[in-house]
């Protein structure tokens, strides 16, 4: 089942903050966050496995709620290099723990 991402797109000025959300109707085994620049491969940012978990550093961090149905990616004091499309990829409890199901992505543009 495909996770739902919001917002679809966001434009920021350099130094502003953004939050990207990823929601599932069922509890998840894990959430994986990737950033993809145009014409390039998705680059792994972080993985969250535990309910209530928060990880990352002060600039880019993520959380996973207690029910393991929602994750948020926090981009603080954005830089031009943050521009790209952010995808959450989820792994559910059914089937094998190998198939990443990606959300539709959030296009982030950071301007001067």
């Amino acid at each position: 089942q495909q996770p739902v991402q919001s917002p679809q797109a966001v434009i920021l000025r350099e130094g502003e903050d953004a939050v990207i959300n990823c929601s599932s109707s069922k509890a998840l085994y894990s959430v994986h966050w990737y950033r993809q620049k145009h014409g390039e491969a998705p680059v792994f940012l972080m993985i969250l496995l535990k309910g209530g978990e928060q990880k990352g550093h002060e600039k880019i961090s993520a959380s996973f709620n207690e029910k393991k149905q929602q994750s948020s990616l926090y981009l603080t004091a954005s830089q031009l290099s943050y521009s790209g499309t952010y995808f959450c990829g989820t792994i559910g409890f059914t089937g094998t723990a190998s198939k990443l199901t990606f959300g539709t992505g959030t296009r982030l543009q950071v301007t001067l």
Binding site: A41, F44, T96
Partner: protein, 111 residues
């Protein structure tokens, strides 16, 4: 830093032709994957591979598709008879455990 590599970077083929996309996963990884991304859309799972067999495959991965690990380093995706709708970016990924690392992709154009 080790990375997943893919060849070719671009492939143009005629409808009905066979193509083989090649990947070299990160050397100590045991799990391998193929994903595709149609232009402007999300990344879609095709197949996962572990211990020389398919672990899981999606509805997209029909009889026209096959995967192989012909030797200790390469992992290939074959499309037997390409269709126009197979035009996409194909990504290989590998993992040791949870985290999947993606290769740079092969852009396939079917004419």
């Amino acid at each position: 830093e080790p990375e997943v590599t893919q060849t070719p970077s671009h492939q143009v083929t005629q409808m009905g032709q066979e193509v083989i996309l090649r990947c070299v996963p990160i050397s100590n990884h045991l799990y391998f994957y193929w994903y595709r991304q149609i232009l402007g859309q999300k990344v879609e799972f095709l197949v996962s591979f572990y211990n020389n067999e398919i672990s899981e495959k999606s509805e997209i991965f029909d009889d026209q598709f096959s995967v192989e690990r012909p030797d200790g380093s390469n992992f290939t995706l074959k499309i037997r008879s390409t269709k126009l709708e197979d035009s996409a970016m194909y990504f290989c990924a590998s993992s040791e455990q949870e985290t999947q690392y993606f290769g740079p992709g092969t852009r396939l154009l079917v004419l």
